[in-house]
């Protein structure tokens, strides 16, 4: 498989130069490479996307997919995996989508540890609705809905994923596509809930993050022990998603551990339900009422 095989004929409507293209290309390459390595079956892969700029990726990836509601990517992923545990399920969410509208689902997805991968496009604004602040936007940010400036500190999404029990937590940078691709491959292969925080600076409504991230982002190297939770927390705290002063912004895998997956604990979750030829036995199901 070539990455181009995952292309669709749909006209791409992201802004020219949008870092979302980096995410799309990394995803195509990661999936094609995993297929070629015999580690993934494209026909048994299903993606889910929410609503926002990120969600357009649904139209640009030639894979089974469900473009659901704003904020509900994770329940759709959860249900897709419940419905067919043989599928590789990949969710794409926006940061407003995931950490404003859908934050409760995110917390529970970390707890459930279902074997799904969630990639969140972190652009720190609601871009498709013209740039309002969201849960990851830095304090002081001014926009149409918040002319007096965003009053609160942002959620540290990597820290939240770690604290809530995600078993694979990483951060990628959309403008460092080859590095992002490697993270995606690891996340998809991880058995359990994988979270990738993908920095995707909005070049229209959040321009200042491009020079900041290009200056401060650095790759976690082999000195970082991904099995060490304490170290992962320390790394997650290096940057708090704000821009007041320069801080190191680590990218790479922060943490990976093993915990039984949700589906491994249900004896019923062995095969796709649609392949079960049910013949309900009426006498058995009604015996107790006679």
């Amino acid at each position: 498989m070539k990455p181009e095989d995952l292309k669709t004929a749909q006209i791409n409507t992201w802004c020219p130069g949008c870092p979302n293209f980096g995410i799309l290309n990394s995803a195509k390459e990661a999936i094609a490479e995993l297929v070629n390595e015999g580690k993934l079956s494209a026909k048994d892969t299903a993606l889910a996307a929410g609503i926002g700029c990120h969600g357009k990726i649904f139209d640009y990836l030639n894979l089974n997919g469900f473009n659901g509601l704003h904020g509900r990517v994770l329940p759709v992923c959860f249900g897709t995996k419940l419905g067919n545990p043989n599928l590789t399920v990949i969710g794409f969410g926006g940061d407003g989508d995931t950490f404003d509208e859908g934050v409760s689902h995110f917390i529970h997805a970390c707890r459930y540890n279902m074997d799904i991968t969630m990639m969140v496009h972190i652009n720190q604004v609601f871009a498709l609705t013209t740039g309002q602040a969201n849960a990851i936007t830095e304090k002081g940010f001014i926009d149409g809905s918040t002319p007096l400036g965003q009053g609160e500190k942002p959620i540290n999404s990597v820290l939240l994923a770690l604290e809530m029990g995600a078993t694979f937590v990483a951060r990628g940078y959309a403008l460092q596509a080859p590095h992002l691709k490697e993270i995606m491959k690891k996340a998809i292969l991880h058995k359990g809930f994988s979270y990738i925080d993908i920095l995707q600076p909005c070049i229209i409504y959040h321009k200042h993050s491009v020079p900041y991230l290009s200056k401060n982002a650095y790759k976690l190297d082999e000195t970082h022990d991904i099995s060490n939770f304490g170290q992962a927390i320390e790394k997650a705290r290096e940057w708090d998603y704000s821009y007041e002063k320069d801080a190191k912004v680590p990218i790479g895998v922060f943490y990976q551990t093993e915990r039984p997956t949700f589906e491994s604990q249900w004896p019923q979750l062995k095969q796709p339900w649609h392949t079960i030829d049910r013949k309900p036995n009426w006498d058995n199901i009604t015996r107790e009422f006679k």
């Binding site: 299903a46 509601l69 509900r72 897709t80 067919n84 796709p272 339900w273």
Partner: protein, 524 residues
């Protein structure tokens, strides 16, 4: 054991002994204490409702006697627990007393106790025996042929299993929760999956994810929970994913009366979700209908790829009904999924009846579900022409659906007479039991509220002299629906919105008062 278990146990013995029992449950929204009671009606003829006058009171506390003694029929008896006796045993003593009165053999009670209480049966048997010895035989009930004893909730549950349910998701909410418990308990033996996600929004979105993969998914909630689900209910309409929604009404608006009954969500069910899309709303009238209508819900959801609401209420869900035997629908448990979808598969292919044959991820071709307006492949679009084409495609189903439901008894008419009672759902029981005592009345039960069987309803109304609507609501929503769909206005309404179901006595009284001050329906 409390009033609910005791009354179910008594009802079960009577039905096994061949009698018809209706068991009504009344309880407050608290866990321990409060005034919690059941009313059993026991007869050698079919009964579908309870009464508010009693022949016996089995009282575990003074409050029961204080509250209900005024409603004891002349010559009625009160069996009360001895002061100081633990309630858990006192119940069983009262059971012994009651059955001794009717001359039912102690051995029958013992067998029933063993069946119901398993390893705790010995203690129960001991106290039943104690009551039995204290009592005296006043009547000798003959044994008749055994009957089936089943609640509305249980009907929904076995209907779902018989229809081939794969996954049931629900967040707890009274009075829908008993179905969650019923299915959860039986999940392994029936190879189904029952799970309680983090909230109602997760419930419905996850169910749609599962439906996307070809699983038969059902969700359960009450009005407030369904309100949270409505955005995704509209998604089911747009993405054309089969889904069965069990919505069990309780007193409302808002949190309302958690443990009491109402039919105030009818218009909400018919109109739930933003935008326009076809859906089905079904209102079963008793536990037997709950089985059949649940099977129909799955069948139609799968065949037409639309969401279906099974609208129940506390009274139907938590009452026990008796039937000679329980029957299932003859509809198949088909999955309606293509065995070999074509390479160039279109998830939203435009067909004659608007239904796109379903494929699922993993079969090979790309399968898409989209909440945005989309083309036949499921790609997002926003051009005018495709928008119209796809909206028309979804509504093409309506004409076929109407034809299909006409084969499924969307309305039922009971009794003979030139006057007509019109209702839907759980009011059926009290109406059927009142009907023989009403002169010249038929009863029109409407079971499909959407699509609405307008012709059949109009025909029955037009040939009737006096028409009265009966509904457990404050405004009589069904009258508005009938007016919208048929143009006929029903002005006479008997409404009850105190959280309690109708009883035949009350209905008869109300119908007689209504007749005295009768206003002509606009159609006549």
């Amino acid at each position: 054991m409390g009033s609910a278990v005791t009354s179910h146990f008594i009802g079960k013995i009577f039905t096994e002994w061949g009698y018809y029992v209706f068991n009504y449950r009344d309880y407050p929204s608290l866990i321990r204490g409060g005034h919690n009671f059941n009313i059993l009606k026991i007869s050698d003829k079919p009964v579908y409702s309870h009464e508010l006058k009693y022949d016996f009171i089995l009282a575990l506390d003074q409050k029961t006697i204080d509250t209900h003694k005024k409603d004891l029929n002349k010559g009625g008896l009160v069996f009360e627990a001895k002061a100081g006796e633990p309630k858990i045993l006192a119940n069983n003593v009262l059971i012994g007393l009651l059955f001794k009165h009717f001359g039912v053999d102690l051995s029958i009670l013992f067998v029933a106790a063993e069946k119901t209480f398993g390893k705790n049966a010995d203690m129960v048997k001991k106290s039943i025996q104690e009551g039995y010895q204290l009592g005296s035989e006043k009547e000798k009930f003959k044994k008749l042929s055994p009957k089936c004893f089943i609640s509305g909730t249980e009907g929904m549950g076995i209907g779902a299993i018989a229809a081939g349910l794969d996954i049931y998701l629900a967040y707890p909410m009274t009075p829908a929760t008993p179905l969650l418990h019923f299915l959860a308990k039986r999940q392994i033996e029936n190879n189904i999956l029952v799970f309680q996600p983090e909230n109602e929004i997760a419930v419905i979105n996850a169910a749609l994810g599962a439906s996307f993969t070809g699983a038969k998914a059902m969700i359960g909630t009450s009005g407030g929970g369904f309100a949270l689900m409505t955005e995704a209910f509209s998604l089911a309409g747009m993405a054309e994913l089969p889904l069965v929604v069990y919505s069990c009404q309780r007193g409302a608006p808002s949190t309302g009366l958690a443990t009491h009954t109402a039919q105030g969500d009818l218009k909400f069910a018919i109109n739930a979700g933003h935008g326009e899309f076809p859906r089905i709303v079904l209102t079963p009238g008793d536990a037997q209908e709950a089985i059949i209508r649940t099977q129909e819900a799955f069948y139609l959801a799968g065949k037409y790829r639309i969401p279906v609401i099974l609208l129940s209420d506390k009274h139907l869900a938590e009452s026990d009904y008796t039937f000679n035997q329980i029957k299932k629908s003859t509809l198949s448990a088909n999955r309606f999924i293509l065995e070999n979808p074509p390479e160039d598969y279109k998830s939203y292919k435009i067909t004659v009846n608007g239904v796109s044959p379903a494929a699922v991820p993993g079969q090979g071709p790309i399968v898409r579900a989209n909440s945005y307006e989309h083309d036949e492949y499921g790609y997002t679009i926003e051009d005018a022409a495709t928008t119209v084409k796809m909206q028309d495609k979804r509504f093409k189903k309506s004409a076929y659906l109407k034809k299909e439901i006409n084969k499924l008894n969307p309305v039922s008419v009971y009794g003979k007479g030139s006057n007509l009672l019109v209702s839907h759902g759980s009011t059926k029981g009290a109406i059927l039991d009142a009907l023989p005592q009403l002169k010249n009345f038929r009863f029109l039960q409407i079971s499909y509220l959407e699509p609405f069987p307008a012709e059949a309803v109009a025909k029955e109304i037009k040939k009737s002299r006096k028409v009265i609507l009966v509904e457990n609501s404050a405004t009589g929503a069904l009258a508005d629906v009938i007016k919208e769909k048929t143009g006929i206005e029903i002005k006479n309404k008997i409404l009850k919105y105190d959280g309690r179901p109708f009883t035949p006595d009350l209905l008869i009284y109300e119908i007689h008062s209504n007749l005295r001050g009768f206003r002509k329906s606009t159609h006549s």
